[in-house]
């Protein structure tokens, strides 16, 4: 008899995040940098360890190299354990052939053996691309109290945004009565956060049944959850009321970063009781030179700032030279903004160079039709030449020559 694990987490981290464009050209979405030193996946991983979940399977598929490297043995999250800990689970070859993860449910199905090794009572299925701080243990207690087969974390979203989400209708006791997937005219504003807790014995059977159904897309939202619902399983919604953001698009990634600078937003990363752990850069404190001006910003280790930084997030080892201006922007590790260059309303990926006098991005006020405005994105290792201009909404992944 193996040691029993109460709750194990399966983290879905295989998504490409195609709407993030060039930012996910070489990395999976959960590995996208966020908040000056973190990557998106630090949030669910830290939530796990802070909630006392010590066995985590990370399901990877798209561009896993950087993500695998980042997770490593799980030491930054205290997930390097002799029993349990973090395991990166990629699709593998089997007697019947090699199969990619066809859908979220299939990804878990293919790893039933992994889960069975730990013989858990409950399995949490998490998504690797949301920014939030949540105690899964409280949700597990709720799940047990309700004697549920499945508990879905639920967030009340503003009505005008409700049509972007999978919605639920919930009774007073928390039981889910109906689902609605991204409807045009929403009648509920209770959205699913993509955080599930299942009683493993139940889920295990539904996964096997789902796999046997050739019509199924093998997806949790489309197939497994409706199947459980139709069979009258006990399904409950667990209300969450903290900060939660899906960083699926360029604009939402940009916003979610700048949310950290807004004191009204309920996402405190300095909270000792719920630390977000990450692989820390090895760099000295950041240095602000004598003419530097820094306001309303988050600055990572190893940065050198001689210019002006306002309302921006600078990751580690970013150089802002004298006379350069950075506003309303996210600058990822190792990037240099040279003398007199301006970066505004932009996301600049790792190790890029914005040469002297270049101008990246435009403010919404500078554009006549607001529909034409959007955040500008510069890809990793791209050089924007001297004096070159990059307009709003553009996405640049090759070098741009300077203007004479």
């Amino acid at each position: 008899m193996v040691k029993k694990t109460e709750c194990l987490a399966m983290l879905l981290a295989g998504g490409q995040g195609s709407r993030l464009g060039i930012l996910t050209k070489n990395i999976a979405k959960p590995a996208v940098p966020y908040g000056g030193k973190y990557r998106i996946i630090d949030f669910p991983l830290s939530n796990c360890i802070n909630s006392g979940i010590e066995t985590v399977g990370v399901l990877t598929q798209y561009q896993p190299l950087e993500l695998n490297d980042y997770i490593g043995n799980g030491q930054p999250w205290d997930l390097d354990r002799s029993y349990g800990g973090v395991h990166v689970l990629s699709p593998y070859q089997q007697i019947k052939g090699t199969e990619w993860y066809k859908g979220t449910a299939n990804a878990i199905y293919q790893n039933i053996n992994f889960i069975d090794r730990y013989n858990p009572e409950y399995v949490a299925v998490l998504s690797g691309d949301h920014i939030y701080k949540m105690d899964y243990n409280k949700m597990l207690r709720f799940h047990k109290e309700k004697n549920a087969a499945c508990t879905i974390a639920m967030l009340e979203v503003p009505w005008e945004e409700a049509s972007r989400f999978g919605l639920m209708f919930v009774d007073d006791d928390g039981s889910i009565t109906a689902f609605e997937e991204k409807p045009k005219n929403p009648k509920s504003n209770k959205a699913s956060m993509g955080v599930y807790i299942f009683t493993w014995s139940k889920l295990r059977q539904y996964l096997i049944d789902d796999e046997a159904d050739p019509e199924s897309h093998n997806d949790f939202g489309h197939n497994v959850i409706p199947a459980m619902h139709n069979n009258g399983e006990r399904m409950f919604a667990y209300k969450f009321d903290g900060y939660w953001k899906d960083v699926g698009t360029i604009d939402s990634l940009w916003e979610a970063n700048l949310d950290l600078l807004n004191p009204k937003v309920d996402l405190d990363l300095s909270d000792d009781s719920w630390r977000i752990y990450s692989r820390n850069p090895v760099a000295p404190p950041h240095f602000t030179d004598k003419n530097a001006k820094v306001e309303n910003s988050m600055i990572g280790e190893g940065c050198y700032i001689a210019g002006e930084v306002d309302y921006s997030i600078l990751f580690s080892n970013v150089n802002i030279e004298e006379g350069a201006t950075v506003k309303y922007s996210i600058i990822m590790p190792g990037t240099t903004v040279k003398k007199g260059a301006v970066v505004e309303y932009a996301i600049v990926a790792e190790n890029a160079v914005i040469d002297e006098g270049a101008h990246v991005g435009e403010s919404p006020e500078a554009i006549a039709n607001l529909d034409d405005w959007g955040v500008t994105v510069i890809g990793e290792k791209v050089t924007i030449g001297k004096g070159a201009e990059v307009k709003a909404k553009e996405m640049i992944d090759t070098d741009i020559e300077g203007v004479k």
């Binding site: 000295p284 404190p285 001006k293 309303n296 988050m298």
Partner: protein, 369 residues
């Protein structure tokens, strides 16, 4: 090239008494420096970056904070099955009477040294701040066939009671004087010493038998002719802390650009992780000519100062020419000038504390002003 065959020995308590304010609750090795670091980080990182994989840290007293900082040695990649970091607390036998100097310390860890399988030993102190590739010293030592190699710098010698200064003929040290501080430039020791393990053991045993007290006087100075002692000149950044004033001055000089000499990208300095968030600046905040660590929240003004992790500078507060250690809280409209605030100091709203550049004010750990 030979660094993997070298045992590193670090004296964490060396010269504690010269920095008595900061070392009343900790060792010299755990004195905070350059924001997020402790002095021992520089020695350990130098060793690891040079390829030394076995390090013993010798301690005498006040070593709780040091133990907490070093842990298993993981941040320096010294948590290993083979070699790695060994913490060497004082061994209370009759002949380790009080750890007066280097000799007593070495005598206390003779077991550890004699059990090592390395052929060479590198000794270093924590009060010397440098980012130095020790391989040059080690390889130079082995190539020259010298008995002992000591790294030295040319300049005004630090005012420590046993500072060695050298006369040299080429690389050979011909005479050694100990503790004779002058205001003239001389060749003074950085106390980075390389020698073979056999010779070190022989010297420790001899010293014990003959009752020697001082490594510097009774061994190095006395044997300067009999043994071939070699000097290795260091021209790069290396500063010796010999007082609170020099601790302050060396820190402030980092801000005039010297931090670039201390932190080179190819020679990273490792330290214990704290998983703080990046520093946050608020509305109307500013920091100029300053080193600011992660976890700081700055809503006021910071000028020409070093802020360690987790420092809070509230609205309207002004911090100038100061060293602020971990988790200090500077309340609204307070003013701090030319001060060294130890960990967890709280400055209440609108209070002012001010020292002078030549006499910085020190505020002890956990004090509320």
């Amino acid at each position: 090239m030979y660094a993997s065959n070298v045992l590193g020995i670090v004296y964490s308590n060396a010269y504690d008494e010269y920095l008595s304010e900061l070392t009343s609750v900790r060792t010299m090795g755990s004195v905070p420096f350059a924001g997020r670091y402790r002095l021992i980080d520089f020695v350990l990182s130098n060793m690891v970056n040079s390829g030394i994989g076995k390090v013993g840290v010798s301690t005498k007293a006040n070593y709780q904070s040091l133990m907490d900082h070093l842990g298993s040695g993981k941040p320096w990649d010294l948590s290993r099955k083979r070699d790695g970091l060994t913490f060497l607390p004082p061994f209370n036998t009759t002949y380790t009477d009080g750890y007066i100097g280097r000799l007593a310390a070495l005598k206390g860890i003779i077991e550890y040294i004699s059990k090592s399988d390395k052929d060479y030993v590198l000794l270093a102190d924590c009060n010397v701040v440098c980012n130095l590739d020790y391989t040059r010293i080690i390889d130079g030592h082995i190539a020259s066939g010298a008995d002992i190699t000591i790294a030295y710098k040319r300049g005004i010698a630090p005012k420590l009671h046993n500072t060695m200064s050298f006369e040299l003929d080429g690389e050979t040290i011909t005479s050694v004087s100990v503790g004779e501080a002058t205001e003239n430039a001389c060749n003074y020791s950085l106390n980075i010493i390389v020698l073979s393990r056999t010779l070190l053991l022989q010297l420790i045993r001899e010293a014990a038998a003959l009752g020697y007290k001082s490594f510097e006087r009774d061994i190095i100075a006395a044997k300067a002719g009999a043994l071939k002692i070699r000097g290795q000149k260091i021209d790069s950044y290396a500063k010796t802390i010999d007082s609170l004033q020099s601790y302050y001055d060396i820190s402030m000089q980092l801000l005039s650009g010297e931090y670039r000499d201390l932190f080179a990208a190819e020679k990273p300095v490792y330290t214990k992780e704290r998983d703080d968030m990046p520093a946050i600046y608020g509305v109307c905040s500013n920091a100029s000519s300053s080193l600011v660590s992660d976890g700081c929240i700055i809503k006021g003004t910071v000028e020409n100062s070093i802020l360690s992790r987790g420092v809070y500078v509230a609205e309207g507060a002004v911090v100038k020419n100061s060293i602020i250690m971990q988790d200090c809280y500077i309340s609204a409209n307070a003013k701090v000038n030319c001060a060294i605030l130890d960990k967890n100091v709280v400055i209440k709203p609108a209070r002012e504390i001010s020292g002078a550049e030549t006499y910085p004010i020190y505020v002890g750990k956990n004090i509320t002003v």
